[in-house]
């Protein structure tokens, strides 16, 4: 098979994995070496596909042949998709060729499981080893690992990679049993725990000045959870994410709205979940990580799913009107972070500026704060929202997107452009 055709099949097979980040690697570069490559700081998106997703890494599978039967996956053994397999050298060469043309930040390599977890993992690690040792490649490498692979292989993967990941896929064992019968939640978490310990060890060793230099190890791990393939509620998904962030210190949990695939399985819904659900989950995720919210605040027992019409911070604020308004000249950082429309960056600017000046609405406007959204929830030197009706029952209606035309009524709500932005930047 031609390289061209292999690339077509094996990139197509990899595209359902949402993670493409290339940030957070240790600083390294190619100066003084024969090779190319640098990492550190935030990663670069070298292109964007018409699906709006960033293209930063060469994201391919080593092979799309697979023994497992994960029903949401186009590569499962029951699918009739055409199979292909790269040799490790082909992937090495493609990575270098693409990298030297500045198409990419590096490689994200994953693979269907052939023969056994260890056999597959060895092939994957071999690509990374060749890039690092034979070609002095200092660019970004993200390796997908298999929880069932032996710990020594996972360690070796971590030595060559900047990021390693294991996909949790679904938030409950129940879901896995049904849709990915070969996968096991506890085993996955065990492997994550192992990786976390390795990452921690490396950091601990680095702090001891007289200790021998620890072998390099990936600086972070991440995972992906599918949304809408099983019937898990957002509360269940977010609680799982929260546990992963807490127990295994994941850098990122990616939420991937289940997307129809060629070769669909009988066990899956035909209609994909609305894309906006994925957006809301990312927004909720930012709230958990950077805004001091807990899962219990973002979703409630009465409504375990996020409001598709309103971003989760606004939805929370409307449920908790009693804590507002917050005075931008006095309120704590924590309270300001909870104001709908005030993102982390603007909260920092406000805190810095108010040490020297009293903030008025015009100041906020200059910071490009979304005024219509913020005004009911804040007090400024020249503004008190008492009469804007924080208690008004109709307040929620003010924030809803304008009603759609009748014939579109059956359509699910769409994310507003500001929502799309907030998912990218985390500013809410």
């Amino acid at each position: 098979m031609e390289l061209h055709q292999k690339l077509e099949i094996l990139a197509d097979a990899a595209k359902y994995d949402a993670s493409c980040a290339s940030s957070g690697a240790a600083r390294k570069d190619s100066r003084g070496s024969k090779g190319v490559g640098s990492t550190g700081g935030s990663g670069i998106c070298h292109s964007y596909a018409p699906d709006g997703r960033c293209i930063s890494l060469l994201k391919v599978l080593l092979t799309n042949a697979c023994l497992y039967d994960c029903h949401y996956c186009i590569n499962r053994r029951s699918s009739n998709v055409q199979r292909a397999r790269f040799t490790p050298d082909e992937v090495v060469q493609l990575t270098l060729d693409f990298y030297k043309r500045n198409y990419i930040e590096g490689l994200f390599l994953s693979s269907g499981i052939i023969r056994s977890a260890d056999y597959t993992m060895e092939l994957v690690v071999d690509v990374a080893r060749k890039l690092r040792e034979e070609h002095h490649f200092r660019g970004y490498i993200h390796l997908k690992t298999i929880p069932e692979a032996s710990p020594s292989l996972i360690e070796l993967a971590g030595r060559y990679a900047d990021r390693i990941s294991i996909n949790i896929e679904l938030p409950t064992q129940e879901g896995l049993t049904k849709l990915a019968p070969e996968k096991n939640l506890a085993r996955t978490q065990l492997a994550m725990d192992h990786i976390r310990n390795k990452i921690d060890e490396r950091h601990a060793d680095k702090r001891k000045p007289d200790a021998p230099k620890p072998p390099p190890f990936a600086t972070g791990q991440s995972t992906q959870m599918l949304v809408g393939a099983d019937d898990s509620t957002d509360a269940v998904i977010l609680r799982r994410a929260d546990l992963l962030y807490g127990d295994y210190r994941l850098r990122r949990v990616y939420y991937s709205g289940f997307s129809p695939i060629p070769e669909p399985s009988l066990l899956l819904p035909i209609k994909p979940p609305p894309l906006v659900r994925e957006h809301r989950l990312y927004q909720a995720d930012w709230l958990l990580r950077f805004y001091g919210f807990t899962v219990g605040e973002i979703t409630t027992e009465a409504s375990p799913n996020l409001d598709l019409h309103l971003d989760p911070k606004l939805a929370w604020a409307l449920r908790n009107r009693a804590v507002f308004p917050a005075d931008v000249n006095k309120a704590s950082r924590e309270s300001l972070l909870r104001v709908p429309g005030l993102g982390v960056r603007n909260v920092n600017r406000i805190l810095s500026a108010r040490r020297y000046t009293r903030l008025r609405l015009a100041d906020l406007l200059r910071l490009r704060v979304p005024m219509k959204k913020v005004m009911p929830f804040i007090i400024a030197a020249d503004h008190n929202p008492a009469r804007l009706g924080l208690d008004d029952e109709a307040l929620r209606a003010r924030f809803l997107p304008p009603p759609r035309q009748a014939e579109l009524d059956f359509e699910m709500p769409m994310a507003a452009p500001s929502d799309i932005d907030s998912v990218r930047t985390g500013e809410m």
Partner: protein
């Protein structure tokens, strides 16, 4: 009122500003303008120069000024000088901490535009292989790029770190930068015709671009927000964007109407057998469940 004509680079502004400041000339007395001639090539900024123009100027101001200097807005020199004046003679030492101040805000916005332009240059430069050095054996690459501002010098360090192992040149209309394995150097701008139109790898890259795109999630606006059309003419993958968009509807329809496949029984396989037998630990007791 005095008029100060400077070559549009940071170092020139700094020299003039230093002098004006020592003569205590208030900002309202100065009219700044760019020397219209193409800037001669300046010696690379000497990093050993003292970082402060005068005592008590925060280092962050100089960093900002260096970046703002690359902007093309005619007002930039006067705003920079006014901020410098307010920091030193206006008793507003904390000015830069006050983002809502119109001058601070303006500088921040210019810096942001410059930062974005640099970032896009790092992202969208596309090297073409043009040959191999016969003596050193190093591969030689050339790229053409059209930045919005005069950022070549600010952006060059990134390429030096990343592509040390190959020879490369990035040509732009305003200034060019070259690396030969031992030093970076700059030459005057050139025209696009100096760069070959394509590279043997472009076709493979387009294959990748086509395959990684998921037609189910068409979001053209989101793509264009990050990759505005003005960059497309120098991106090899951009030539197939419209075709991908046009085909996507048909591809999705086809997926949604395909008949679903039943599960296939597991093949006889020792590894799968061992998975099944694996004594799986119980999930942790704090595991989330579907019950509220």
């Amino acid at each position: 009122m005095r008029t100060v004509v400077i070559e549009p680079v940071f170092e020139a502004w700094r020299e003039s500003a230093r002098e004006l400041l020592s003569l205590r000339v208030p900002p309202s007395e100065v009219l700044w303008s760019d020397d219209a001639r193409e800037p001669a090539l300046f010696a690379p900024a000497n990093e050993n120069l003292p970082r402060a123009v005068v005592p008590n100027v925060p280092a962050s101001f100089l960093d900002m000024a260096r970046s703002v200097a690359a902007h093309t807005d005619v007002r930039r020199w006067s705003v920079l000088y006014r901020v410098l004046w307010r920091l030193t003679h206006g008793d507003e030492r904390n000015l830069l901490a006050i983002s809502p101040d119109p001058d601070t805000r303006q500088l921040q916005q210019w810096c942001k535009a410059i930062g974005r332009d640099i970032h896009k240059m790092h992202a969208f430069v596309r090297f073409r292989l043009v040959g191999k050095d016969e003596i050193t054996g190093r591969e030689q690459f050339v790229a053409w790029f059209e930045p919005e501002y005069r950022i070549v010098r600010l952006a060059a360090g990134f390429f030096e770190k990343r592509f040390a192992g190959m020879d490369w040149s990035i040509l732009t209309p305003h200034e060019c930068v070259h690396w030969d394995g031992s030093a970076i150097h700059f030459t005057p701008g050139v025209s696009r015709s100096a760069v070959p139109d394509d590279d043997a790898l472009d076709e493979l890259w387009r294959t990748y671009y086509r395959s990684i795109f998921n037609p189910v999630r068409l979001k053209v606006r989101a793509m264009q927000a990050e990759m505005p059309k003005k960059y497309w003419k120098n991106l090899p993958e951009a030539s197939i964007i419209s075709e991908l968009i046009a085909e996507s509807g048909g591809r999705v329809d086809k997926m949604l109407t395909t008949e679903s496949r039943p599960a296939k029984p597991a093949p006889k396989n020792a590894y799968l057998e061992s998975l099944r037998k694996m004594n799986t630990p119980q999930p942790p007791s704090d595991a989330p469940s579907n019950e509220p």
